[in-house]
């Protein structure tokens, strides 16, 4: 049984699969599906016998190959698409919300923006925003500050595991220290740049 190592193109995404006949990786080409679809592909039984799946731990956004045995003596390979990371961005400035959302979306994050800390807590508390992998918030906002939001999140048993990043246009060492001591994941100076965010997100992943 032969197989091919094919380069992925824009129409297809390649699923890394471990092959026991050549002891290397080969790429199964799957038709590009929407992120919510889980395409399935059938391998001929003879080939399946030689193929040993060795899924590496898949970072979010990648596809994990899961072989499923069926009665017809074929292996159906199902691709489970890992969800994108979801970031909640909190900022009272409409300009800054647009910028931070774009920076995050360019790095393939799903972004929800809110204009205040109280709103953020409301939505989180009511379960209207779920599966939040990171909160990024402005420090200085009318009403509740980002620092207060950080404290509330860290005090909450449901929310405390969520990393919270503070953004501020002012470089005040005491403020930075206080935020980090309160459990902030990081402190970014505004204006926030794409490089700040990608450096940060590599740690969250």
């Amino acid at each position: 049984q032969t197989h091919q190592h094919i380069n992925p193109s824009d129409e297809f995404f390649a699923v890394p699969y471990f092959c026991s006949c050549c002891s290397g990786e080969f790429d199964l080409l799957m038709a590009a599906a929407s992120p919510t679809q889980a395409p399935a592909m059938t391998l001929p039984a003879a080939m399946a016998a030689k193929v040993a799946p060795s899924p590496k731990p898949a970072p979010a956004g990648d596809r994990k190959v899961v072989p499923v045995m069926t009665d017809a003596d074929e292996v159906v390979v199902q691709v489970q698409v890992q969800a994108e990371l979801h970031v909640l961005a909190v900022d009272d400035s409409v300009v800054d919300r647009a910028v931070i959302a774009k920076i995050l979306r360019s790095s393939k994050y799903r972004v929800t923006t809110v204009d205040s800390a109280t709103r953020a807590l409301e939505l989180l508390g009511l379960g209207l925003i779920t599966d939040v992998n990171m909160i990024i918030t402005d420090y200085w906002m009318p009403g509740m500050t980002g620092y207060e939001l950080l404290k509330r999140v860290k005090e909450s048993s449901e929310l405390r595991e969520i990393p919270v990043v503070i953004m501020s246009s002012e470089n005040v060492p005491n403020r930075i220290t206080r935020c980090l001591e309160e459990g902030a994941e990081d402190f970014l100076l505004k204006p926030v740049r794409p490089s700040d965010v990608s450096r940060l997100c590599n740690r969250i992943r």
Binding site: D92, V95, A98, K102, I103, S106, S169, K190, P191, P194
Partner: protein, 136 residues
């Protein structure tokens, strides 16, 4: 096409770098948000300066917002003038605040004119990709 020297800083370039097929007019859209939001802030600042007794805390808070959004789009002159204004607030120097506000209004008007011309020119030279890539 290079943004006017002195009016815009590196942040503006960073925003242009973010532009892609999914949002080909991103910079123009963000600038539009700024130009829609900032007159309101300037007007609030003006009203607050006119109030008695002076509320320097509120003035500082308003200018802080303007400084923040200005710097997010790379409007360096506006950002710097906001810093000057803030220093006057700190000193409780009302006259200084008044002068600074006038400067900020002039800076804002010039910036708006230049940005609008810039985007108009980009549209004239052709597809967005060419205009942006030619700077790389």
């Amino acid at each position: 096409m290079v943004p006017e020297m002195g009016y815009l800083d590196e942040q503006f370039n960073q925003l242009e770098e973010l532009q892609d097929e999914s949002s080909p007019n991103f910079v123009e859209e963000v600038v539009a948000l700024f130009l829609k939001d900032s007159p309101r802030l300037l007007s609030n600042i003006e009203q607050t300066i006119g109030k008695y007794p002076q509320d320097f805390y509120r003035l500082d808070s308003l200018v802080h917002q303007l400084k923040g959004s200005g710097s997010s789009i790379g409007a360096v002159r506006m950002k710097n003038e906001c810093s000057v204004f803030k220093a006057h607030c700190n000193d409780r120097n009302l006259e200084g605040c008044r002068r600074s506000l006038q400067k900020m209004k002039r800076e804002h008007a010039t910036l708006k004119q230049k940005l609008e011309s810039y985007f108009q020119l980009l549209r004239q030279v052709g597809p967005r990709e060419h205009a942006v890539n030619s700077r790389k």
